[in-house]
């Protein structure tokens, strides 16, 4: 049995999803030969630290009842730097202005000899090359499958399963909120404002939907794809972005009559990064509905490979995180 000590930095929906998955997968992980022990959990109010392993049920209950997991005042950086462990799971919320607190957390982890698994898009969209080089220089892994496409394993697919292929281009729908809004508008001939309200009531769209509907979230994900898959040194400013707020039900109807659907498509091709509403033929593999995410990868040897799945949700995102933790556990 190999013991892997991890910390969870950020205990919102994703962090709690990781904890729940570790509980439900305990037997599975033992069979695989791993004892994954959480030695520290941090949220914005403080931390719980236990080098023998935290009782995750307790931690989840305390979070639910008290609103925080903290049993002490140590902050995330104390936990990352001072407690001995192998992997930092950085799942604080994305901040696209300066990447914090995620950026500082990831830097601290890599500088103190810990591998990093993250779902946090900000640091990777802003400082991809720096973080990747820091990880490599220190002989550490930096894994980020959960940053793009939620449960959909885009990076694993390209870097592992499609190794040997040159990637010609990638097109994808990487924002479930926009996909939901466009799907509903087309199905019900409802105007944008009404569907947005519905999505907000269902918890699919945020109270301030700007980040999703203006294409910002999609653009950030596209930047991570460009950097990870095409080795670009791109940042958010390199993406040509058009959102979905101007789309009318009449436009969707006209598209429908001519066998198209309209989707907010991210495109990386020939060094150019674009997020814009696009006409997608109805029978094309990219034409997925609801909140689904999809990525279509055009390669030289394998041709076109398309994968789709759930792009959000705490357990779905935890699936990608767990897969990254196991990758490190097996290879370190």
């Amino acid at each position: 049995m190999k013991t892997i000590k991890i910390s969870i930095i950020g205990f919102g929906a994703v962090g709690q999803g990781v904890a729940s998955s570790l509980i439900s997968k305990q037997e599975y992980l033992k069979k695989e030969g791993f004892d994954i022990r959480v030695v520290g959990i941090s949220d914005s109010k403080g931390s719980e630290i236990n080098t023998k392993g935290i009782d995750l049920e307790d931690a989840l209950n305390r979070k639910k009842q008290k609103g925080t997991v903290a049993t002490g005042e140590s902050n995330a950086l104390d936990l990352i730097q001072d407690v001995e462990h192998d992997i930092v799971v950085e799942v604080t919320p994305t901040n696209i202005e300066n990447g914090e607190p995620g950026l500082g957390n990831i830097r601290a982890a890599l500088m103190s000899g810990k591998h990093v698994v993250t779902s946090n898009k900000g640091p990777l969209a802003l400082r991809f090359t720096e973080l990747k080089e820091t990880a490599e220089d220190n002989g550490l892994y930096l894994r980020y499958e959960a940053t793009v496409g939620g449960a959909v394993p885009i990076f694993n697919l390209v870097h592992e399963a499609l190794a040997g292929n040159s990637i010609i281009g990638i097109e994808g729908i990487l924002n479930g909120t926009c996909n939901y809004i466009l799907t509903r508008m087309a199905e019900e001939s409802m105007p944008y404002e009404l569907v947005l309200k519905e999505a907000q009531e269902l918890g699919i769209a945020e109270t301030d939907p700007t980040y999703d509907v203006e294409g910002i979230d999609s653009a950030i994900k596209l930047v991570i794809i460009a950097n990870s898959i095409f080795g670009q040194n791109a940042t958010y400013g390199d993406v040509d972005i058009t959102g979905i707020t101007k789309i009318t039900p009449e436009a969707l109807e006209l598209a429908n009559k001519n066998n198209y659907v309209v989707k907010l498509v991210c495109e990386a091709r020939e060094g150019r990064l674009t997020v814009a509403p696009r006409l997608v033929p109805k029978r094309h593999p990219l034409a997925v509905g609801g909140t689904l995410n999809v990525a279509s990868i055009l390669t030289d040897l394998a041709g076109r490979i398309t994968i789709s799945g759930k792009g959000a949700g705490s357990i779905e995102t935890a699936s990608s995180i767990l897969s990254d933790i196991l990758y490190i556990a097996r290879n370190s």
Partner: protein
């Protein structure tokens, strides 16, 4: 531009090469050759249909070279509007003088707006239009789209184009 030609060859060996060589020499890209050896013309020559892409300015030179080498050029035609694209425009399309935009594309000579449907929910509300543009080739289609992008940009219209990665696929 894409040209389709009917050539007439003498019924002796080596004539097909004689007919095709000048096209390559002038950097033409041959797309198809239909050669029916047993269908002779009343003149006893063998007709060949060749389709190729070539720069417009060397077309006359090509015809001269062919005639000089004894190949009869029976017919020259331009293969028009082989490429097509659909786009959607959203905004105050009626106020933006769509007719002028269509004229701009049609007057290029290499592209035409062949279909357009307009949907206007109410006065002062944004309307939506679906357009189909045909052009003589992919390059020309791209140029027609550039015109439309320019108009959309100036008149604050949202232009929705098709996904593109498909076209890269062989």
């Amino acid at each position: 531009m894409i040209i389709s030609m009917t050539l007439e060859l003498k019924d002796i060996p080596g004539q097909l090469v004689l007919a095709l060589a000048p096209i390559s020499e002038l950097h033409g890209n041959i797309m198809s050759v239909v050669h029916q050896h047993y269908e002779k013309t009343p003149r006893g020559t063998i007709p060949v249909q060749v389709t190729f892409e070539i720069e417009h300015r060397v077309l006359n030179k090509l015809i001269q070279r062919l005639e000089k080498s004894g190949v009869r050029v029976a017919r020259v035609g331009e293969e028009r509007l082989r490429s097509t694209v659909s786009v959607i425009l959203i905004g105050h399309i009626v106020h933006s003088d769509m007719g002028d935009t269509i004229d701009r594309i049609d007057s290029t000579g290499f592209a035409e707006v062949v279909d357009m449907s307009l949907s206007m929910p109410a006065i002062e509300k944004t309307s939506s239009a679906y357009l189909v543009i045909n052009a003589v080739g992919e390059k020309e289609l791209g140029m027609a789209l550039d015109i439309l992008r320019d108009v959309a940009d100036k008149k604050d219209l949202l232009m929705i184009e098709p996904i593109r990665l498909n076209s890269v696929e062989a």
